[in-house]
Amino acid sequence: MSYLSILTNEYIEIIQLSLYVSVFATVLAFLFSLLLSSYLLLNNFRGKGFILLIVNSLMSLPPVVVGLFLYIIFSNSGVLGFLDILYSPTIMIIAQFIIITPIITSLLYTIFENKFHEISEYMSSLNASRGKIINTIILETRFDLVIVSMTGLGRALSEVGAVIIVGGNISNISRVMTTSIVLETSRGELELAMYLGLSLIFIAIIINLIIFLIKRVYL
């Protein structure tokens, strides 16, 4: 079997859905994390350490646990079952959002904190407002932010444990690259599974190449 022969409509749709779900989840997680880590950076309050502890711990949350947790909640007999989103791309986006938000938040907070220490004296001499401080930090760390979001996207794209439970791996509806690799392996179609895996790597290379080019143009 040649690599080109698997490029049927079905596989193109699988790749499109993979990208749609993971990019959507990454954008949402990134925006949420940006707000959360900015808030944590600029405000000191009781329990802040505790929140950071929880966020850091959630980084090691196994995706399959997230999947199970969401299944129980969004199952028709669960509390949010009435929303009717089980076995749809929506719940897959939610699952990936939950998996990657702690990772992005934790990385962003670390980056922001380091930058903050670097510029805090200068900023206080200027009597800068909090909005001004965070704008400066974001502007100066923008390339790190791109890397962080790519880390999140990579994690989302490669995840399988959660999406196979909540998405159900339904052909044309919720089948993404990782779940179809699981399926083809279970059918004993090891070559096809391997080709899908290679396509996943290929996509990762393209994304990273784009980042590399952006960096070269703007730096």
Binding site: N76, S77, F82, S186, R187, G188
Partner: protein, 267 residues
């Protein structure tokens, strides 16, 4: 900051409006029927196929039953008579129909180290595997195939789980994954014929024992009770149930072949 909040809200709204479930039927099914390719062949022949979204979720029988009890399916297709009857008795199903059957077979390394080829019954074959301590892979995932395997061990009066990890390997995975493991461990395993025919990574393994009478594998189709699951799409599910159990569908099922082998039979 304010603008960002608004964007987020907008995204969330888009997010939830992406799902329209006007007409959708969910089938909770075993992996073997999905892997056989039967649904891909059969379902598009349903007259209302174009106006209906049919979602088939392929999991082990145990999980399919559990999901259906949670009302996450409108139809259930599984293969474990005992648990199907229990399911009906508990009131989760309103109608049950034996959709079709095939048979279980014992596959293993072609040189047949435990010499089971000439066995007269499946329990004799299992006894030989036990005596020779030949490797055996069990799915151990409370699937229908796993239930059939347990029945044979019981008939042979052997409890293989005592030997779990020495020559009896419990994978806890689906049929295909377990076959991949059996092949690399040179192990025997039990599998339904349709999955075996469709399976591509056979390598050095072949069918060593089969008996259509003693190892029959009937698939039950169950319509979920709307009293237990009022939010289910009972109306569409019942129409599909009726079509699947009709005489014309029986002909279609009997016509389905993989590599010129008939895969499923109807009563």
């Amino acid at each position: 900051m304010k603008i960002r909040y608004n964007n987020l809200l907008l995204l969330i709204i888009i997010f939830f409006s992406l799902n329209s479930h006007s007409s959708e039927v969910i089938i909770q099914s075993t992996t073997s029927t999905r892997d056989s390719g039967l649904y891909k062949y059969l379902l598009p022949k349903y007259p209302k196929y174009d106006s209906l979204v049919i979602k088939t979720i392929a999991v082990g029988t145990g999980q399919a039953i559990r999901n259906s009890k949670n009302c996450d399916g409108d139809l259930l297709i599984v293969h474990d008579e005992k648990r199907e009857k229990q399911f009906m008795k508990q009131g989760y199903g309103i109608k049950r129909h034996i959709l079709m059957y095939n048979d279980f077979i014992i596959v293993g390394p072609s040189n047949d180290p435990a010499d089971i080829r000439k066995s007269l019954s499946p329990d004799e074959a299992f006894l030989k595997i036990y005596t020779k301590k030949s490797n055996f892979v069990s799915r151990a995932d409370s699937s229908g195939t796993n239930a059939a395997e347990k029945k044979i061990w019981d008939a042979a009066k052997i409890d293989p789980r005592i030997f779990s990890g020495s020559w009896y390997f419990e994978t806890g995975q689906g049929m295909g994954q377990s076959l991949n493991i059996a092949i690399s461990l040179n192990a025997y395993t039990i599998v339904d014929r349709s999955t075996w025919i469709k399976f591509s990574n056979k390598q050095n393994h072949s069918v060593l024992f089969s008996n259509k009478k003693l190892m029959q594998n009937p698939y039950g189709l169950i319509l979920i009770n709307p009293d237990k699951c009022p939010d289910n799409n009972y109306l569409q599910a019942k129409l599909l149930f009726d079509w699947l159990s009709s005489e014309s569908t029986k002909l279609l099922i009997n016509d389905y072949t993989i590599a010129n082998n008939q895969v499923f039979f109807t009563y």
